[in-house]
Structure formats: structure tokens, C-alpha cells
């Protein structure tokens, strides 16, 4: 009976769940509730993904008002894919959070944490599913506000300054998006994305629309931490509670990447953005600089969380690079990497969180000799790290493969080569951690408090690790979804209306 409402449920469930969670004063209860809500959203997202693969686009008119007068939820293969990643990772992180939060966050703030997490989830789901440009802004802000809260919940005082910087940058980004949406509205009189696409297609080239797009892209670039605008991300991910880092690294920036894809491909149309405005070159250069600069910075970090954060920025470079290739194959590689990167970064941050849980530090010195003391955690770190490097039979290899293939199809030999050499830097920074973990003696060999992480942390971590391997071997689901998504996105923007 509720099947037709599925497009809206991944948003509404956590949105209703959040205040309920707040009312459940007990920490345990709130945890259980939040996890169940998140898990249920995940289930619905999977159903949505399968449905969209089967039937194409699902449109849902909120309040019964047909678009463009009302707000529309539009679930297609592309956002169903990202939605599954977000809700899935959220569920795993919540399972993981139980104990990690116990240790890292003050007891009476646990309910607030779960509430904020659910709000963040609702926001991210909303951004993904919505078919309305302004509605996107609203959900962007829900998720952002919840995120600032989540980051600042950490006990480290540097989390506060990190959260503040995040807030300032994030708000500037959101305001830029608002300006851009305003300019689009000014020229078209509509906010519905499909409608916008159809009406923008009527203009050849228009200074207002160009500026609007530029502002949206800059705003989204801030949110997704594209290279020169990434400075907020490393401190935020470093000092946030582990569970938050794991969740955000895998989802928040990815959602922003999806937003960029959505604006470029379904609203303005690749033709307009790349050929009229020459955005592809800009994005391409920024992406490559991001890959090299941030990978390099990652190699010299002594804090492992910071290292992973910079690595995330570099990995975002790969996604943007895929998009900027302006081919269906490139876009598909970018989308695939969104999916795969969530798996690997989630696992890595969980492993780092587990180490933090036991040793109380994320410094590389804390990893001395951990290979023996926390074998399962470090094994997870190793496999996820290999995935980041792009070793075959891991998910990372698959996305790298498609990315390079896409570059080569366009005869971009240099770019393909740069992609591969870029991943060499990953060997360095992951290798550093593995080396001290397996070959250094622990600083204090008598310390018996450092033992394997609790089971509740290991289970979600290993689910992600196994997913890394599974999706590195059986790529049929991820690749076909990404492929369908990119094909769908890549048809001329004006034609998207025909799907309705």
C-alpha cells in the first residue's frame, strides 16, 4: 500500500525519527531507535534502486500538487544509487557509533547526537531525492546544521574551531547556491528541475544564467571540498567524533558531488555547461591539482585522521575528473567512485575510530605495533587501504579502471597517466600507517588496555571491508547501476522531460 510513497520515505522517516529520538531520553533507546529508522530507510532505498533500475524514474508530487507548482521528489537510478550508499553507511555508522560515542561524547549528549544524526540523514536524503532547486537548498541546510552540531560534539576544543570554519564556509556555499538558484528563477520563473531544464534549453547563452551556474558550481564546490575550497574539510574530519567522520567522509561530500552532477547534467545540460562555458577544462585542472596536491599533503600528515581527510579531498578529485571528461563513461566512473569511495573511506575511518577508541589517539605513533594488538582492526584498515590504492579485487580498482578507460576513450593519455600516478601517492600514505602498525614495536609494550576493538565496532567495519572486496569482484550491481545512471543523466537535458 505504501509502495507508491517510497520516494519520500527515506526523507520523512528520519525527519520524524529525529524529534522522537529527542523525546526518548535514554541513550540506549535513542540508539536503537535511530538505528532502526536508518536501517528501514536503507531497505527502502534498496527497493527504490531496484525499482528504478527496472522502471526508470519515479516521480512523487508532495501535497498532491503537480509539479512545477508543488514540490516534486524525483528518484532515478543515479540518486537511488547514492541514496542507498548514504542510508546504508548511516546504518552501519549508527551500529558502530554505540560504543565509540560512549567514549567520545559526554553521556547526556548522546540523545542529541542521535537526533542530529537522523536530521543529517534526512537532509542528505532530501538533497538527493528532491526535484526542486530551492527544496534542495533547504535540505542542504538541514544536513549542514546537523553536521556542524555533530562535528562540534567532539570533546577536543579544536573541533569547535573546525566546526566554526565549516559553518562559515558552508554558509557561504549555501548562500552562493541561493544566489544561483535566484538567477535561474529570474530567467525561467520556475524552480522545478525538469522545468528549469526545459526552459533553460530555450536560451542559447545568457549572462544571467551563466552567472547563476557559476555561483551554484562554486557553492557546491565549497560543499564538496573541491580543491582550493577544501580548507574546511581536513580540520572538520580530523576533530569530529570518529563515527561522524566515518559518516561524513562517505556521504556528505558525495551528496554534494551528486548535486553538482544534477545541476550540470539534468538542469543546464552538459552541452551548455561544457561547450558554451568551458567548465570542463576548469574542473579537470582543479581535479588533477586536487589529486596531487592533497595526496601529497596526506603523505606528510602525522595525524591519521587528517591524512584520511586529505585523502578524501584527493578522491573527490577523481570523481570530479570523471565528470569533467564529459562522456557517459566518465560520468559513470565518477558515480561509481562515489559508491566505492563511501565503502573504503567508511571502513578506514571506522578502523581509525576503533584505534582512537582503544588508544585515545589518532597520531601515527599510536599505531606502533597495532598489527598484533588489534589484528582485526588493522586487517580492515589494510584491506580498505589497498582499496584506496586501487589494488585489484577491491572496489577501488574497479573505479580506477573505469576512470582510466574513460580517459583513454577520449585519447586523454596524459590524464590517464596522471590518474594512475596519483594513486601511487596513496601507496605512500597508506603504507606509512601499515608499516608502523606491523613492524614497529609498541611504545609501551606493557600496556594491556590496548586490545581488539569491541565487536559492535568490528561488525560494521568488516561489513564495509567485505563490501569492498565483494564490489571489487562482483561488480554487476554497482557498475550496472552507475552505468544506467550515467546514461540516463547524459541524455540531453531537454529530453529528460519526456520521461515524465
Amino acid at each position: 500500500m505504501f509502495a507508491q510513497h517510497f520516494p519520500v520515505l527515506p526523507i520523512v522517516l528520519p525527519l520524524i525519527g529525529a524529534p522522537v529520538c529527542m523525546l526518548l531520553a535514554r541513550s540506549q533507546l535513542a540508539w536503537l531507535f535511530a538505528t532502526l529508522i536508518s536501517g528501514f530507510s536503507f531497505f527502502i532505498s534498496i527497493v527504490l534502486l531496484l525499482t528504478t533500475l527496472d522502471q526508470g524514474v519515479l516521480s512523487y508530487a508532495l501535497g498532491g500538487w503537480e509539479p512545477p507548482w508543488g514540490i516534486e521528489m524525483r528518484v532515478d537510478v543515479a540518486n537511488a544509487l547514492v541514496l542507498s550508499v548514504v542510508t546504508g553507511l548511516s546504518t552501519l555508522v549508527l551500529v558502530y557509533a554505540k560504543q565509540s560515542i560512549d567514549k567520545e561524547i559526554d553521556r547526556n549528549q548522546h540523545t542529541l547526537f542521535y537526533t542530529a544524526h537522523l536530521l543529517c540523514l534526512a537532509g542528505l536524503s532530501g538533497i538527493l531525492s528532491t526535484g526542486d532547486a530551492f527544496n534542495l537548498f533547504v535540505f542542504l541546510e538541514i544536513s549542514s546544521l546537523a553536521t556542524y552540531t555533530l562535528v562540534s560534539l567532539a570533546s577536543d576544543r579544536r573541533a569547535l574551531t573546525a566546526a566554526f570554519r565549516y559553518l562559515v564556509m558552508g554558509t557561504i556555499g549555501a548562500t552562493f547556491i541561493l544566489i544561483g538558484v535566484g538567477m535561474m528563477y529570474m530567467k525561467t520563473g520556475t524552480l522545478n528541475m525538469l522545468d528549469l531544464a526545459a526552459r533553460i534549453a530555450e536560451y542559447d547563452s545568457n549572462r544571467t544564467l551563466n552567472t547563476g551556474l557559476a555561483f551554484i558550481l562554486i557553492g557546491v564546490s565549497i560543499k564538496l571540498a573541491l580543491f582550493p575550497l577544501h580548507m574546511w574539510l581536513p580540520p572538520a574530519y580530523t576533530h569530529a567524533p570518529s563515527a561522524v567522520s566515518a559518516f561524513l567522509a562517505g556521504t556528505a561530500t558525495k551528496v554534494a558531488v551528486y548535486v553538482m552532477v544534477r545541476f550540470i547534467f539534468t538542469i543546464y545540460g552538459a552541452e551548455y555547461v561544457f561547450h558554451e562555458m568551458g567548465m570542463d577544462v576548469i574542473l579537470l585542472v582543479l581535479a588533477i591539482v586536487a589529486i596531487f596536491n592533497c595526496s601529497f599533503v596526506a603523505t606528510v600528515q602525522s595525524n591519521v585522521k587528517t591524512m584520511l581527510a586529505y585523502s578524501s579531498v584527493a578522491q573527490i578529485g577523481y570523481m570530479i575528473l570523471g565528470i569533467s571528461l564529459v562522456t557517459s563513461a566518465g560520468l559513470m566512473a565518477g558515480l561509481l567512485h562515489i559508491f566505492n569511495h563511501a565503502l573504503m573511506k567508511g571502513a578506514l575511518f571506522m578502523a581509525v575510530g576503533a584505534v582512537l577508541f582503544r588508544t585515545g589517539s589518532a597520531d601515527i605513533k599510536a599505531y606502533y605495533g597495532l598489527g598484533k594488538r588489534m589484528p582485526l582492526t588493522m586487517a580492515a584498515f589494510t584491506i580498505a587501504g589497498l582499496s584506496i590504492i586501487g589494488v585489484p579485487l577491491t572496489a577501488g580498482f574497479v573505479s580506477k579502471w573505469y576512470l582510466v578507460t574513460a580517459a583513454l576513450e577520449q585519447q586523454h593519455w596524459l590524464i590517464a597517466f596522471l590518474i594512475l600516478t596519483g594513486s601511487l601517492l596513496a601507496i605512500v600514505y597508506i603504507g606509512r600507517v601499515l608499516e608502523v602498525a606491523y613492524f614497529k614495536e609498541p611504545a609501551d609494550p606493557t600496556d594491556t588496555t590496548i586490545k581488539e576493538a569491541p565487536v559492535l565496532m568490528l561488525i560494521p567495519m568488516w561489513i564495509l571491508v567485505l563490501a569492498n572486496i565483494y564490489f571489487g569482484i562482483d561488480t554487476s550491481l554497482s557498475v550496472s547501476a552507475a552505468d544506467a545512471a550515467s546514461k540516463w543523466l547524459f541524455q540531453p537535458a531537454a529530453d529528460l522531460g519526456a520521461v515524465r
Binding site: L178, I179, Y185
Partner: protein, 118 residues
């Protein structure tokens, strides 16, 4: 001439936005940054409302004898945006209070220095 008459509103708004934006990125004091953010956002709100204005129109509340109404849609959007803005401000200010307690200062360069000491 009509050029200026057509756009003067937007130009001043652009100036206001940029004034706010400048405060955000140049200010060292966090409270001032937040004030700048608010000015920036408020100016964007004015831009939106300008979009919806119809010359000779009236407020979009049904009344007898009035035929021309301004566009209500930007109003709705900005209502939302204002609330969003103040929500962000509240969280930002709360962060500032905590930063002051943790660092003893709200000047950006000073707490950077203090962290460098650790």
C-alpha cells in the same frame, strides 16, 4: 538611461552582498564574521524579493478591488531562507561562545597560535 532605471536595484544589492561577503572573509573576529554572514544573506534576500516585485502590484493578499499582485513565490522562499539564516547564526554564535571558553579569545589568528603551541 532605462538601463540604469532597470537595474539600479540589483546593483546596490550586489554592493550590499559584497560588503557582507567582504566582512565574512576579511574579519578576524568571529562575531564580526557572523554579522557579515547575516548581512550577506539579508542582501541576497533583498535580491529575491526584488525579483518578485511587480510595479504597481500589491502585497499578495487577496483584497477587493486589487487586480495586480506581486509574485508570492519569492516571498515564500525567503521566509524559509530567513529562518534558515537565523538558525545558522544561532549555531555559529553558540560555537563562538564555546570557542571563547576553550581558547579565551575569539580572534581567528589568536586561537590558531594557541593550537600551534600544543
Amino acid at each position: 538611461m532605462s538601463f540604469i532605471v532597470d537595474y539600479y536595484n540589483y546593483w546596490i544589492v550586489v554592493f550590499l552582498m559584497m560588503a557582507g561577503f567582504y566582512i565574512v572573509i576579511s574579519a578576524n573576529n568571529l562575531v564580526k564574521k557572523v554579522v557579515g554572514l547575516n548581512i550577506f544573506q539579508t542582501s541576497v534576500f533583498i535580491m529575491y524579493i526584488s525579483i518578485g516585485k511587480v510595479s504597481g502590484g500589491s502585497a499578495p493578499i487577496l483584497a477587493d478591488g486589487i487586480t495586480s499582485y506581486s509574485n508570492p513565490l519569492p516571498h515564500v522562499l525567503i521566509l524559509t531562507a530567513i529562518v534558515v539564516g537565523v538558525a545558522t547564526t544561532a549555531v555559529g554564535l553558540a560555537l563562538i561562545v564555546r570557542i571563547k571558553r576553550a581558547y579565551g579569545t575569539v580572534e581567528e589568528n589568536e586561537f590558531k597560535d594557541k593550537d600551534a603551541l600544543i
